[in-house]
């Protein structure tokens, strides 16, 4: 909706690209973009989003899959994805299907303040809500280790309230500082982890590792950003069983009635003009009607006494 949020979309897509390149497939990524920048009418190069003004890397690419976009990016949806409390008809690509052996990386970027992050210009998520959501995830055994990266103004305030174990948090700025995400790049295309010093970035990055059970120095970045798939290579030939075919429709033998199938008339004028009105489906009476009848019956029995009841039944 607002074109100046282009850089946030570009940041999120850079992280998405790096994570995909390090081996995590789309089925394991939930991508939420609040604004559509690539196909926006203001974009002079449609279907592209660039992370740098020299336009060398199109982070949008040709095979991006956005799971939540536009108005679907709300605080409620975000917390539901984290805690897994989604309506039963939600498709798999919109769910976080993690168990107690998964490492989760959460990257948030946008506009924020002391203790909150702004969603869609109309609502905020507070650091207490986030901490409670993580506690729910811990109690439901939905993660093994969680890395939380936040790239907003005063981002360090968002992780102050965490109290669940195995959480590590990184923020691009401390409380009281603004973060200019233009100068804060977590990833270059050589996927190096660049933490920029005070002289280059205007803000000081912060971190929190006290809830982490392992020694933070021994944690690899690729524990969160990449994944390895188990592949078994074999040189033996494997015989596949023949596929189960549906029963063959016999035709020709004996006299079978072949009903000729026809296409429906697309605009049957005569039929439409003489169409009978649709039979309305019968619905049980509304609550109001039921209440009205109950009231009438009650008044009746009150005035005439309960002994009349046996005459009815």
């Amino acid at each position: 909706i607002f074109w100046f949020n282009y850089r946030h979309v570009a940041n999120t897509l850079s992280v998405y690209r790096s994570v995909k390149r390090l081996g995590i497939p789309d089925s394991h990524i939930v991508l939420m973009l609040a604004d559509d920048m690539a196909c926006n009418y203001r974009n002079p190069k449609p279907a592209t989003v660039f992370s740098h003004k020299n336009m060398e890397l199109n982070v949008y690419g040709d095979d991006v899959e956005v799971d939540y976009r536009g108005y679907e990016v709300t605080v409620e949806n975000f917390l539901r994805v984290l805690t897994g409390r989604l309506p039963p008809s939600t498709p798999r690509s919109k769910r976080l299907l993690s168990d107690d052996r998964s490492n989760i990386l959460i990257y948030l970027t946008g506009h924020g303040g002391n203790g909150f992050l702004k969603f869609q210009d109309s609502e905020e998520i507070s650091n207490m809500e986030l901490a409670d959501a993580f506690e729910q995830m811990w109690q439901k055994r939905r993660y093994n280790e969680l890395l939380f990266i936040i790239d907003t103004c005063q981002g360090a305030s968002m992780y102050e309230r965490f109290y669940s174990p195995n959480l590590m948090a990184l923020a691009s700025s401390q409380v009281g500082e603004d973060s200019l995400s233009v100068s804060h790049t977590f990833f270059t295309c050589l996927f190096q982890f660049k933490v920029c010093p005070q002289s280059q970035c205007v803000s000081t990055p912060g971190h929190r590792t006290d809830l982490f059970q392992r020694d933070p120095g021994s944690v690899l970045i690729t524990d969160f950003f990449g994944s390895v798939r188990k592949v078994e290579i074999t040189k033996d030939t494997i015989n596949l069983t023949s596929p189960v075919e549906p029963p063959i429709k016999r035709s020709g033998s004996g006299d079978i009635q072949i009903e000729s199938l026809t296409y429906v008339d697309q605009l049957p004028v005569a039929e439409i003009i003489h169409q009978k009105p649709k039979q309305k489906d019968w619905h049980p009476p509304d609550g109001f009607i039921l209440g009205l009848w109950t009231l009438i019956l009650l008044v009746f029995f009150q005035t005439y006494g309960i002994k009349h009841l046996k005459h009815i039944f």
């Binding site: 690539a38 196909c39 449609p46 109309s122 189960v244 072949i258 296409y263 605009l267």
Partner: protein
């Protein structure tokens, strides 16, 4: 024994065959744009809705769609995602029309007991498959048309209780919708015509529409058995001026920034058709092909150069052209909102019949959201400044927050005329939580649908043959003298009276200021006690006093 088993194997293999065809039609339009239409068709002879037998072996038909069809007992499914509006007067009629945004209409099987529940789950599943916000489709924007949108596939019963139709005019189409769409193709985007689909070029166009149509059709000419047909279509109109072409010359590489290398190995036919009907002597096609085909499509006989990719040819196609007169589209519709202010307004739908001497009926379907309260007693239909009474009207009023308005009318259009349908409405006030995060943008009203059987100048073919090109065989033709066309109007953007969302914040600031300054000062005045206090002496006097204290002399006052 061996012969028997091999025969059995042969019969088993021949039983559930599926077939894949792909084609691309390129038509230069009169406004200088190029219209490219891809169609990919997978035909499969199987029965998804069979009781007790689950289809488990998928070959060319995508498994995700097959499972959706069997789980929700879907008879027909049509979904389209469009960016841009099709300009009928400049570009003619499209092969497969679609409204801006997303459109989904589904016919369910008559065995379904809870159609609304199936519809809700189906929209959620499709939103996951196509990465679109189809989960915003609910009862407030779904309608059950009573006469429009008859099934395009085989079937007898047309009880409209099993039809659901919804549009999302606000839906954006981008690469994330194209990616899963391309994954449904048997060859993906690795071989065949789908190699040309590069998102940076496809979305840099005046019109982009991708659709999936699933329906049962006749398997052969006698129509003794039915097969499932999955058609994936992609229509693009490239504007040569924005893509930097000065001369009216185009090639596949300039349009798509890719060239065709080979046909999809799983395709039984892979063809490129170039429309050369308009002024063929001024065209120059390279490489030239002696293969010419003729097809009757949309009431017009057109000539095409056919390139068959199964037989190897080279890839570049160039053509300078100067075009003559275009066949004027016989049916055209427009829609706009009239009126001023944020309380009332008027919706005008204008339908043009450009046929010089024939009148024909059209079916107009309007689905208006509940927050625009229509006053149906003000509905007027006028053609040639005289009242035109529709022969069939179906109106279902809206229920606040439950159901939108549905208005369907069968109107007879006089020849060479303009028919105007007007209805007044009043804008409702929404609850403050119901506003979108950007309410000042406005609220969209979906396109109207005008369906008609337009008289054709050229006799149409009523029987289907296997070698007919795909673009001319989408809509089943029942009679030779007319062809079915569906025209979509523009969607409307209407402003609703919007509250000032900064009002609570302003009120809090003002109230707190008044309380703090006004009441606080008053409270202070009432409860403060005053004491007389000596003013502290200046520095010089203090120093003097200090020295005097040290000397033991009495202090200054």
């Amino acid at each position: 024994m061996l012969i028997l088993s091999s025969l059995l194997l042969f019969i088993l293999l021949a039983a559930a065959r599926d077939e894949f065809q792909e084609e691309l039609v390129i038509r230069p339009l009169h406004s200088g744009d190029i219209y490219a239409s891809f169609q990919f068709r997978t035909l499969w002879d199987t029965d998804f809705l069979q009781e007790g037998q689950k289809v488990s072996h998928y070959r060319l038909f995508p498994k995700s769609l097959g499972q959706v069809l069997s789980k929700f007992s879907v008879r027909e499914l049509h979904i389209s995602f469009t960016q841009g509006f099709w300009r009928t007067m400049q570009w003619g009629q499209p092969f497969i029309p679609s409204p801006p945004g997303a459109e989904l209409w589904v016919w369910f099987h008559d065995t379904v007991s809870d159609v609304d529940g199936n519809w809700k789950e189906l929209t959620n599943v499709l939103s996951g498959i196509f990465c679109a916000s189809l989960n915003f489709i609910d009862l407030t924007n779904t309608v059950q048309p009573s006469a429009s949108f008859k099934p395009l596939g085989l079937g007898n019963a047309t009880d409209h209780r099993f039809l659901r139709y919804a549009t999302l005019p606000r839906e954006i189409v981008c690469t994330e919708n194209l990616t899963p769409w391309k994954k449904l193709l048997p060859c993906g985007s690795k071989a065949g015509l789908a190699v040309l689909m590069k998102s940076e070029k496809l979305f840099h166009s005046s019109f982009h529409s991708q659709a999936v149509h699933i329906r049962p059709i006749c398997q052969d000419e006698q129509c003794s058995s039915k097969a499932w047909e999955l058609r994936q279509t992609l229509n693009v109109v490239f504007d040569l001026h924005t893509s930097g072409q000065g001369k009216k010359e185009w090639s596949l590489f300039k349009m798509f920034s890719r060239t065709l290398t080979e046909a999809c190995p799983l395709a039984s036919s892979s063809k490129v058709y170039v429309d050369i009907t308009d002024n063929p002597e001024l065209f120059e096609l390279s490489p030239a092909t002696p293969l010419l085909g003729q097809a009757v499509v949309l009431g017009d006989r057109r000539t095409y150069s056919v390139y068959d990719l199964i037989m190897p040819t080279s890839s570049m196609v160039l053509s300078p052209c100067a075009l003559g007169d275009m066949l004027r589209p016989l049916l055209h519709a427009e829609r706009y909102v009239a009126g001023f202010g944020l309380q009332t307004g008027e919706i005008h739908t204008v339908i043009y019949n450009n046929h010089p001497y024939r009148a024909f009926p059209v079916l107009l379907m309007d689905s208006v959201p509940w927050y625009l309260q229509l006053y149906i007693h003000t509905l007027t239909v006028t053609s040639k400044s005289r009242d035109n009474k529709p022969s069939y009207i179906h109106y279902q009023p809206a229920k606040d927050r439950h159901r939108p308005h549905l208005l369907e009318m069968l109107i007879q259009l006089p020849p060479h005329s303009m028919t105007e349908v007007t209805v007044q409405f009043e804008r409702a006030l929404l609850k403050w939580t119901e506003y979108t995060p950007d309410p000042n943008h406005g609220f969209y009203v979906g396109s109207s649908v005008v369906s008609a059987l337009v008289p054709s100048m050229v006799a149409m073919r009523t029987n289907f043959t296997q070698d007919q090109p795909l673009f001319s065989s989408f809509v089943p033709v029942k009679e030779e003298s007319s062809y079915f066309v569906r025209v979509y109007t523009e969607p409307l953007l209407v402003n609703l009276p919007t509250p000032d969302f900064s009002m609570p914040y302003n009120v809090i600031c003002l109230t707190c200021t008044v309380v703090a300054v006004g009441y606080g000062s008053f409270y202070n005045l009432l409860t403060r006690t005053f004491q007389v206090d000596e003013p502290s002496p200046p520095l010089s006097k203090r120093l003097a006093n200090l020295i005097r204290r040290m000397r033991g002399v009495p202090l200054l006052t």
